[in-house]
Amino acid sequence: MEAWLMFLRGPLFRFALVVAVLGLMRELALGLWGAAAAYRQANDKNLPWKQMAAAAADWMFPVRKLFTAQRKAHGFLSFILHVGVIVVPLLLLDHLLLWGRGLGLDLRFPALPDSLADGLTLITVAAAIGLIVSRAGSKIARPLSHFSDYFLLLLIAVIFSTGFIASRPWNPASYQATMIVHVLAGDLALLLTPFTKLAHIAIFPVLRFSGELAWKFPARAGERVALALDGKEVRPI
């Protein structure tokens, strides 16, 4: 079992991390490349940059939106979930020790105090479960939801809850078994990141700008489509 655990948090983790980083970089590069091409082709390059940046910032740090946006419960849970999944994996002492060991550095200094890390972990699990319940119970969100919308939340809940209970004395399963689930789920989340909606981690800012930019059509796009479909640029209506 120990060998399995070593494999999961060694080679598989490194592989998953490389897939996630390269995959996200690819998504970002594709997005930027597409945006740059669209901008280059657009005759009208006058975009409301300030307004677009303000809207992006408003949603990237959605403190104000917590109180003004609709579906407040969903928004609140989602906000907590985001704080948890960003802060805990990065600043947990055990994770920092692992990173330190791997990189040969002492990275303990920014670690969260244990009690705060535990609290955040539990809140994150609660938020993930709350979001699953809210999604399944919402007349609006339920018909929109795909399998992956539930699965990713479940995955986060599994990662955080197994991480929390692994070394507790009351853990009914063995430390190793719990950690295997924890690390396997974490590796899976990393592997899925570029191929699911988690890709917004990388492309969110470009995405926020894409709507406005896409309205800036190339000057002759309509004619080129007509030519491709009808063989002539000017056609009767």
Partner: protein
């Protein structure tokens, strides 16, 4: 009818509306001719051509990857808020097209289809898109509420564009556009030049009677600063708006003209086709250049203004500024050239923001400042400005008579509620499409108010010096 009774009557009507609408025909609107051939193949071919030659691909590619499916768009949508139907959730509707994109134009979708044996898009999917994309008024309110910034208005526009390329276009929009681009009169209301001139003469006589001063509608005057493009239907329906326009130009000594080559600001291309959008915009540009005009001057019309803004997209020979008549009136008021009496208009007034000029926040405060300068009894709707609700006739639906029940009972209900709440006697709605819709809503819901244009009220309050 009191408010409560009116609400009950309307709610009863809404309950039966969707079934009634669906019984009538294949789509909720008429087509000019049934599209022929292999619809699925043609749709995919058109989609591929659009993806290759336009700027949509990168945007819908990202949108298709990271939609959160949170449903906030539905809370913003005036259609969904009334029907509560899954099909009217903006994210669901956009999903119709994004699913086709994922399935047929991405590697992931191709692989997934191989594994799961998904046969791909069917004629049924096309029928659903044909119906559902015309249940969206393209007001883009949901865009403001989407955490990811998915622009469902853009996707509706794209969906309609692809459908138009295989011949699925509401007949009402197509016939009007055909007359505008290929027809004898060159405008959507088929008003020939002699009839236009007669109308303008009549309006000049009316102005003379009112002010005892000759106020002109200049025709084909070369070198005028502003070349005027109202919604051409104003020449048939909105005499007071046009007289208000002329009075403002007269009072401010504005240099303007109406061209007889093109005098129609309406551009249904904004609602269904980039090809049409471009051609109609170029007609405006050609007319303006021919008259050596310096600016495109748009009358009271939201979509005419927004489509004229596309001049910067289609004008490959330098830019021509676009000025909406309300922006002009506001600037002239600030400069002290436009004088409005504060004691003539005493009614309680509210203002409806046309989505096409308000959603981006471009023309929001200007008309309000003008109104407040002559009206002491102004009340705003809640919400308003960038967050306004669509009148329910946006996206070309107001011109499609077959969608009347949908516009009244569903898409416009939120606006009717808003208007009723204000208790106003006059609703200023500076847009040809919104005017028609708001007038019909007032009649349908028996609201104790009248629709009017901003320039209609300016006409009442303006000071004309001999």
């Amino acid at each position: 009818m009191d408010t409560e009774t009116a609400k009950k009557v309307v709610e009863e009507k809404i309950r039966i509306a969707p079934a009634e609408i669906e019984k009538k025909k294949q789509y909720a609107y008429y087509l000019d001719a049934q599209p022929k051939g292999d619809l699925v193949g043609r749709f995919l071919e058109a989609f591929a051509a659009v993806l290759e030659h336009t700027n949509y691909r990168f945007a819908i590619d990202m949108m298709s990857k990271v939609s959160t499916h949170c449903g906030r768009c539905a809370t913003a949508c005036p259609v969904y808020q009334v029907t509560g139907e899954d099909r009217d959730i903006p994210c669901n509707r956009s999903g119709l097209l994004l699913d086709v994109y994922r399935r047929h134009f991405t590697l992931n979708g191709w692989l997934k289809a191989k594994v799961l044996g998904d046969g791909g898009i069917t004629e049924g999917d096309i029928d659903r898109m044909a119906d559902d994309f015309y249940r969206c008024t393209a007001c883009r309110r949901c865009n403001i509420f989407c955490p990811m910034g998915v622009d469902h208005g853009l996707i509706t526009h794209l969906g309609r564009y692809i459908l138009s390329e295989i011949g699925i276009i509401p007949k009402a929009l197509l016939v009007a556009t055909r007359e505008q681009i290929d027809g004898f009169t060159g405008n959507t209301s088929a008003i020939p030049v002699p009839a236009l001139k007669d109308t303008l003469e009549f309006l000049e006589e009316e102005l003379m009677e009112k002010f005892n001063v000759p106020i002109k509608f200049p025709i084909d005057q070369e070198g005028a600063e502003y070349v005027f493009f109202p919604a051409v239907s104003d020449y048939l329906l909105e005499a007071d708006t046009l007289m208000g326009n002329a009075a403002v130009m007269h009072a401010t000594r504005g240099s303007w003209t109406i061209g007889t080559l093109d005098y129609d600001g309406i551009n249904y291309g904004l609602f269904y086709s980039d090809y049409v959008l471009g051609r109609v915009v170029r007609m405006e540009l050609t007319q303006t250049r021919k008259l050596k005009g310096k600016k495109i001057f748009v009358g009271e019309c939201g979509h005419a203004t927004r489509s004229a803004w596309f001049g910067a997209t289609y004008n490959e020979n330098g830019n021509l500024p676009v000025v909406n008549c309300m922006e002009y009136a506001y600037e002239q008021l600030r400069a002290g050239k436009l004088k409005l009496r504060p004691d003539v208009v005493t009614e309680k007034i509210t203002y409806h923001d046309p989505c096409n000029i308000a959603r981006a926040g471009k023309i929001v405060h200007q008309p309000r400042e003008v109104i407040k300068s002559f009206c002491k009894n102004f009340i705003d709707m809640v919400p308003n400005g960038r967050l306004n609700y669509c009148c329910g006739g946006g996206g070309g639906t107001v011109s499609i008579d077959e969608l009347h029940e949908f516009r009244m009972m569903i898409a416009g209900k939120k606006k009717a509620d808003q208007m009723r709440e204000t208790g106003a006697e006059l609703v200023i709605t500076p847009c040809a499409n919104c005017k028609k819709q708001v007038e019909e809503l007032i009649a349908f819901y028996e609201l104790p108010m009248q629709k009017t244009g901003l320039h209609d009220q300016i006409l009442r309050a303006i000071v004309i010096e001999g």
